[in-house]
Amino acid sequence: MSGSLLAYANDVDQIFVLAKHWLLGYVPGPLEPITSAILSVVPVMLAFPLLFAITTVLERKGLGRMQNRYGPNRTGWFGILQPMADGVKSLTKEDIVPRTADQLVHYLAPVVMVIASFLAYAVLPIGRNMVIANLNAGVLFFFAIGSMVELSVFMAGWSSHSKYSLLGAMRAIAQMISYEMPLVLSSVVVIMAAGSLSTVTIVNLQAGYTGIWPHWYLFTPWGIVGFVIFMIAATAESNRCPFDMPEGESEIIAGYFIEYSGFKFALFFLAEYLGMFATSAMAITLFLGGWAAPFSFLTWIPSYIWFFAKLLTIIFMFIWVRGTLPRLRMDQLMNFAWKFMLPLSLINIVGAGVWHFMPAGFVRWGAVSLLLILSCVLLSRGLRRNKWFHVRTYRYAT
């Protein structure tokens, strides 16, 4: 009986793969590669913008509740049709382009950003056997595509020929480049542990269990530190609060996309959120075991359900952080990236190397944890301008 139930669970898990193979059976031979590509890509292109729409509502409601107010609650039941209203609004607004703007570059900037954001989903395994392209250098592909976003930010900021947009673009690019280094370096520890750059291999290596406990890379000292660094860098890469100085709504209005209106603004918004989802999905792939269930007795729940559950949890954490923390100033941002996160990620790599060469057991947990905690404390104390061990005093405004 349990055997047939397990087979049933496996079918539900692989339902999209089986559906795709069944549809491909109806397609003549020469057309099969292109139909296979289309059948792989279209669900991703439908699912993630839908998730974007849901996230906009969740974010506005969530932020509203955290700020002790209702979010949008007029469109539909509890404001759930708000994305439809936003979509109609952005489509029907007039598309204003400044007369002195660089017309072609102004038009191309949101296009390049959306293309780069969608391309990053090609290497993310959404379920068991459900990845669009199993590249041997998948993680490298992801970061290479991520670096194209900075180019589109430059195009947007420059082509508007406005001082606000230029300032915003400069700040945004400086921030994105600074935080790209801790992002990539914190993923190097996972690549070292897995021995491969392929995302499918990294997830498959985390899909085993010892007893009921999973083999996720999060449950190692270098994994925890790497995950935290990766998430902080991901927040900065997507220009989310507390790193949203480039698009601070109260300071430089909207930064590099100030001169965009209507649907192009919606495209920038979409690209930013898609980038946030892609980076979260990469964090899930690298540290949280991808589509693997957290306990061995929960593997009957389909793999894509686990992936989206983890993704929604991370999105909730993003919204929570946005509602809680104030914005960092530009110099505080840059100090944090170059003086704290970068050395800590390099020491994390050393820690992962030490972990690899020590025999398994409590000793290596203690040694690597000590190394990482000590370096974290020393770096953060060192950043406070030589006030090493010092009673905290408060000064109230008078």
């Binding site: 660089d102 570059v105 590249l135 041997n136 250098a137 490298l140 592909f141 970061f143 290479a144 595509i145 991520g146 670096s147 194209m148 900075e150 180019l151 430059f154 195009m155 420059w158 082509s159 230029l166 673009a169 400069m170 690019i173 480049i177 790209e180 750059l197």
Partner: protein, 171 residues
């Protein structure tokens, strides 16, 4: 001469040619980026995944952005009309034709009509890594030293002047 190679070669050539001939400097940088992306796609077509993606990561993500910053920080983006364009065009194209002739002759006499059956070299990341760590470890360390020197130099150039000098200047 497959169609994908022809398309990518066309993109690369058009991008780099546009980078040399356009008047607006920002357009030149963007056209150069297009040419570099075409180069990366050519590397990928040859099967060198690591080099191809690193080309995008480094050239498009860093070098093009560096050029963009240089344009943003200075006022060189204002297009200037110069008379030197027409006088350089004749001699420039003559030199370009000569260089192309030399390169074409070298490629044509260096390749054979029959396909040489060698095992295709794998450019996998593991092989690149082990080659860097074993055979090419000295160049790797020298490059590391060079990058450190560049970082220190950039920090020194960008640093504020020390306070003592400023107060002495004020007095």
């Amino acid at each position: 001469m497959t169609i994908s190679f022809l398309l990518l070669a066309a993109i690369t050539i058009i991008g780099t040619a546009a980078a040399m001939t356009l008047k607006n400097l920002v357009h030149c940088v963007l056209a150069l980026t297009l040419g570099l992306v075409g180069l990366a796609a050519l590397y990928l077509e040859l099967g060198a995944q690591f080099v191809g993606f690193t080309q995008i990561l480094v050239y498009v993500g860093a070098v093009a952005i560096l050029a963009a910053f240089a344009i943003m920080m200075t006022r060189s983006a204002i297009p200037t009309l110069s008379n030197a364009e027409s006088s350089f065009r004749a001699s420039g194209s003559l030199i370009a034709v000569l260089v192309f002739a030399v390169l074409a002759w070298a490629v044509y006499t260096g390749t054979s009509k029959q396909a040489i059956l060698l095992a295709p070299p794998e450019g996998s990341v593991a092989q690149v890594g082990s080659a860097l760590m074993h055979h090419f470890v000295l160049p790797l360390e020298v490059i590391g030293l060079l990058l450190t020197a560049a970082l220190v130099g950039a920090a020194i150039v960008a640093m504020d002047e020390p306070r003592a000098k400023q107060t002495r200047g004020r007095q």
